[in-house]
Every structure is written in C-alpha cells, then in structure tokens.
C-alpha cells in the first residue's frame, strides 16, 4: 500500500471540505503563532534580564561559613530631621558575618580549578555614606579594581568619571548611580564612609556607574584594603571571592568542585537570583499553558472536520473496505488527514509566528537602560521552541483525529451497503 495513495485519498477528502479544512488549519496556525510569539517574548525578557545579570554579576560567589559578629550601623533619627545620629555598633546583636580567613591560600586552591577565568576577593561592608548634602546607608564593596572589573565589567558601565581613575587611586570611590543620586554626589566630589566600628574613610568620587541592576547601582566600590580597614579585618581576611567562569553551562559543576575543595559556601549566579528566575519561569509557564489551551481548542476543530468527513464519506469508506482496505488502513487514512491539517496549520503558524516575532522586534520597548542596549523588544526565537510548538500542534491534531478515525475504521461496510440497497 503506497503512502502516495493514502495521501491522495486524504488530500482529496480534505479538499472536498475546503472551507472547513482551511478554517481548521487557520485555527491551528493561530494557536501555534500565538504560542511562538509569547514564548519569544517571555524568553526575550528572560534572556535580556539574564544577560544583564551575567554581564554585571559574578558567576559564582564563595563565602565563609558562620564566623564573626558584626552588626550593620543603623540610622537612629527618622529622615528629614536636621542632623544625623548614627548607631555605629551594636555588639549585642548577632549577625551572620562569614569571613574567609587566609584568602590567598583559598585563591590559590581555587585558581587551580579548570574553567575559571577570574577570581576576585571582596570585602562587603554596610556603611554610612556622608556628603556635604546628604547622609545615607550605603553598601560598600572593597575590591581589587582590575580583578573586579573582569568579573562584573563595571568599566563598560561608567556614566561619569572613569574606572581607571578609581583603579589608580585607593583614595577614591566608584559609586553606583542610585547611591550617587541618594547622596547627591558626583565625580570629583568628597564622600565620607563611616563603618559600624567607627572607622572612617574620606574619599573622592572617581566614577559613577549604572548596570541596570538596582542592588549593584546602590553600592559604593572602594579598594579592598580600605574596606578591610573600615571593617577592621586583617589583610588576609575577606568577605568572599567572586568568580567568573569560562562557560556558563559549567557553573553548576564548578560549584560542586569548589565546595568540595574549599569547604566554603559557594553560590551560583542562578542561585543568587533564584527567586526572580523562578518568578519568570512561573509567569512563562502560566502564559504558555493558556496558549496551549488555544491549540487544544484548535484540536476540537480538527476533530470536527474529520467527523464531518467520516459521516459524509461512509459510502466511500465502505467501498474502500470492500475493495481491500483493512480497518487499520482506514484508521491510518483518517489519522493522516488529521496530521495533514496539523502540518498545514503548524507550518502556517510557524511562518506567521516568525514574521510576527521579527516585526515585533522593531517595536520600541522604552527601555530603562541608559546605555541604549535595549531599545526594542527582545524577541528570543530558537529552533527548539519552534520544534516543540509544531510537534505539540501535530500531537494535538493526531490525538483529535483518533476518535473519528476509530469511528471510520469500525464502520461495517455491509451496514452502509444494506442501507443503500434493498
């Protein structure tokens, strides 16, 4: 039995119901298109967000286990009142300070692992920033500027001043744009940082950067040694190590290896941002499920057309049975018809989806990124999404045709013939 013959039969049955067949295919196509567009939008959002994070956040962070006991300074007077009173230390409150002691040894151990391109030690310090105009809590991060830049790429995110000016002078600060706004300070101006232990650092702002990640843009970058002094840490103590991996897909493997080697706490960038990624995933799943329902509804259309064909073609089916079509072959014929509707719909939907995604890629997104990286909607299209969307449509069409096909195959030729003759 040639496939060509079955195809011929299927094709002519469907062309006999041309309008209904086309409408059904349009339904499938619409579902496929919408699913593709939604997927591209959701993925685009995720990708652009992830790129921002991957670009500006370390891939892995190593921190110590439960260690010292240092509380963050707190503002004691409500905002708006004249003057500032700061509680610099509260030794009675426990905190989760987890320093890494002897970090050079750790760095050495870590550096021996394959797949890491940068290891940058840092000291985190919650401080009070004070300028001539404002006083506000700031999260300070002491780093080795050249290493840190290779991890988070801040030198490419400078809005005012320059990263190299910051790198060259330990007496300077690279300030996130949010912090700069809060403190009302710009390059060249003075900034005093007050640590919880009462240590002071009088610096000068060398650069203001914007990453698009609020948590980073609220930070003040200072030199590692300055931060150690503010936090009263010995020279070989750091809060943690920030790492950049050669390949993102190796990050999870690296995490396990690092934990095993160092015995310290290692977190990947995905873990750090787990809650937001989970949120993305949930929203994405819900949206896709809604659209999958559209395709399921389209499946009813397919079943509908095939029921019509089966009812209208009872005579033909009986004849085919009488000239040697087995039940199985009749079944295959109608499954093939469902599949043809699915293929037509899926291909048309994929084409429409591609066109729609491409066109939507030109829509201005009104992005919040001042560097203009993201002027238009990011539509992330990939072959795998096209493949599974089309397969889904085909699967739905195939399942939808099972009922009518079984009905056709179960038809007893004699009953139809008896009805026709006397």
């Amino acid at each position: 039995m040639s496939v060509r013959m079955l195809l011929g039969l299927a094709w002519r049955h469907l062309s006999g119901q041309r309008r209904q067949s086309l409408l059904t295919m349009a339904g499938v196509a619409l579902g496929v298109m919408v699913l593709l567009v939604i997927s591209a939008l959701m993925n685009g959002l995720l990708v652009s967000f992830r790129d921002t994070i991957v670009e500006a956040a370390p891939h892995l962070v190593i921190t110590g286990r439960e260690g010292g006991n240092r509380a963050a300074p707190r503002m004691l007077l409500p905002e708006g009142l004249p003057g500032t009173v700061v509680q610099l230390a509260d030794r009675g409150e426990p905190s989760g300070r987890t320093d890494i002691a002897h970090h050079p040894q750790v760095v050495e151990t870590v550096s021996r692992l394959e797949g890491l391109s940068v290891v940058s030690p840092y000291v985190a310090a919650q401080v009070i920033g004070a300028t001539a105009a404002e006083t506000a809590p700031v999260f300070a991060r002491g780093v080795s500027p050249m290493l840190a830049d290779r991890v988070v790429g801040l030198s490419r995110r400078i809005r005012k001043g320059s990263w190299s000016a910051f790198a060259a002078d330990p007496g300077t600060v690279a300030l996130g744009s949010e912090a700069a706004k809060t403190l009302d300070v710009g390059p060249g101006e003075r900034l005093r940082l007050i640590a919880s232990g009462g240590q002071l650092f009088d610096g000068r702002v060398a650069a203001v950067f914007t990453t698009g990640i609020k948590a980073l843009d609220e930070q003040a970058f200072i030199h590692l040694k300055i931060a150690q002094r503010l936090e009263e840490l010995p020279a070989d103590h750091v809060t943690g190590l920030e790492l950049r991996a050669d390949r993102l897909d190796r990050v999870d493997a690296l995490r396990s290896a690092l934990e095993a080697r160092t015995g310290l706490v290692v977190e990947t960038w995905e873990q750090t941002n787990a809650s937001i990624f989970t949120l993305f995933r949930i929203i994405g799943t819900i949206t896709r499920m809604l659209v999958v329902f559209t395709i399921l509804v389209a499946g009813f259309g397919v079943a509908n057309v095939l029921v019509t064909v089966v009812l209208g073609k009872q005579k033909d089916i009986s004849l085919l049975r009488s000239i040697g079509f087995t039940r199985e072959r009749i079944m295959r014929l109608f499954l093939l018809e469902g599949l043809l509707l699915g293929v037509g719909g899926a291909l048309a939907g994929a084409l429409l989806g591609y066109v729609a995604c491409t066109l939507m890629g030109f829509i201005p997104a009104g992005g919040d990124n001042e560097f203009g990286d993201q002027k238009t909607l990011v539509m992330a299209q990939d072959a795998a999404t096209y493949a599974w969307t089309m397969l889904l449509a085909l699967g739905v069409c195939l399942v939808a045709s099972v009922g009518p096909a079984r009905r056709a195959a179960g038809l007893a030729p004699v009953e139809v013939l008896r009805g026709e003759t006397t």
Binding site: L9, I323, T326
Partner: protein
C-alpha cells in the same frame, strides 16, 4: 469444478429489544467455476445478504462458505479483507465510485490497495479494462462527468482489476434505463463467456435472470429452487 460452496449458512441480525431476526436460514448452494448465476427473490428475501456473505463482506452466524477451498466464515476481518481484494470483485446498484478520483484512478484503486501491482502496471491495466468496457476515451473523467451507465461500467472495470475468481454484482442494473441495462448485462455476459469469469448477480428483473445460466431463487431466507 466447484468454486464456491455454501453449507447451512444462517445469518441473524440483532434487533434492539427483540429476538434476533433470521435473514438467512440454512442456505446451501454451490457455484462452478465459469458459471453465471442469478440470485433472485422478492424484496427482503435475503438475497443481497446472501451475496454479501458469499462475497466475504460479512460473516455468517453459522455455516460454512468455501471459496476455492478457503472457509470465509473462519477468517478474521483482516484476512477476509485481503481475500476480497485478491479474489472478489464487487459491483453495486449505486455505482459507488470515489467521487474525487478519475475513472482511471477508481479502476486502479483495488490494485494499489493490494500493493502487489506496481503503479505503472496498474495504470496500464486500468486503461485496458476501461477500453474493454467501452470507456477508453473517458479515463480522465470524474464520476460526476459520466452518465449512470458509464459509471456502472467503470465500476465493473474496477471489479475486474485484480482478476477476481468471483464477480459479485448487487442489482447492477437496478438504477439504469433499459438501454444501459442491456449494455451492462451484455458486458457481464461477455466477460463470462470470453474470460470464463464466474459471475454472481443479484437481480429482481426477470430479463436479466433469464440470460443467466442458472437462477437461484431465495424466498424468506431459504433457497427455493
């Protein structure tokens, strides 16, 4: 030489809320190779049902039907379907051509369905058969472009496609005018004479039955003569 034999064939049909209706009651008959047999009888006598059973379209409730030594009653649906394709040709009252296919394609269909005949060969044979039934110039016509008589001749050509042992015709002229009836009956007789084609024809027309070599009369589900 016996080609077809029925032994005590009974057919009952289920009727909702009532005992099953006995359509055929212990029918026994035999048909020799090359015979032209007319099955006649009043409406509702069970003659069409008998033809369907003899042609392997349905299973008897009890009894045996032997075609060329093979018991049709014992075959499952698939085996029976294959046998119909290989050994039995059908002509119906309402010509039953596939409306979306040309005359040529309709005649090719049983050969392609069997999967034993290459497409090219099937096409050549279909052309020959259409020529034999006088429709050599109508091969690419769709059924709706043909007259009733022409359609019936196409379906005879189709029935002959796989060189069947047995040709079953169910009131093949029941829907035709006199001229076309003549033509179709002549065609069947010619096939019987020149090709030694065994023909079983159900008819209630005396004229058709009179031309048959033998008449089997069915009355109330039993063979009357």
């Amino acid at each position: 030489m016996t080609l077809l034999e029925a032994r005590g064939v009974t057919k009952e049909l289920a009727v909702a809320g009532a005992p099953p209706a006995r359509i055929l009651d212990g029918v026994s008959l035999s048909v020799r190779r090359g015979e032209f047999v007319a099955i006649t009888g009043p409406s509702g006598s069970g003659k069409s049902t008998l033809l369907y059973l003899l042609g392997g379209l349905d299973h008897p409730t009890s009894g045996e039907i032997l075609l060329d030594g093979r018991n049709l009653a014992a075959m499952d649906d698939d085996a029976l379907t294959r046998l119909r394709n290989e050994a039995i040709g059908f002509v119906y009252q309402f010509h039953f051509l596939l409306p979306e296919f040309t005359a040529l394609e309709n005649v090719m269909m049983p050969m392609l369905a069997g999967g034993r005949v290459p497409r090219r060969e099937a096409e050549a044979r279909a052309r020959d058969l259409l020529g034999e039934v006088g429709l050599g110039d109508r091969t690419s016509h769709l059924p709706r472009q043909l007259s009733g008589g022409q359609q019936q001749r196409v379906s005879i050509a189709r029935a002959l496609a796989n060189k069947p042992l047995l040709l079953c015709a169910d009131e093949p002229t029941g829907n035709l005018d006199t001229a076309n009836t003549e033509r179709v009956v002549e065609l069947l007789l010619t096939l019987n004479r020149t090709m030694d084609q065994t023909v079983l024809i159900v008819t209630h027309e005396g004229g058709v039955a009179g031309k048959a070599g033998r008449e089997i009369r069915v009355v109330d589900g039993k063979v009357a003569s």
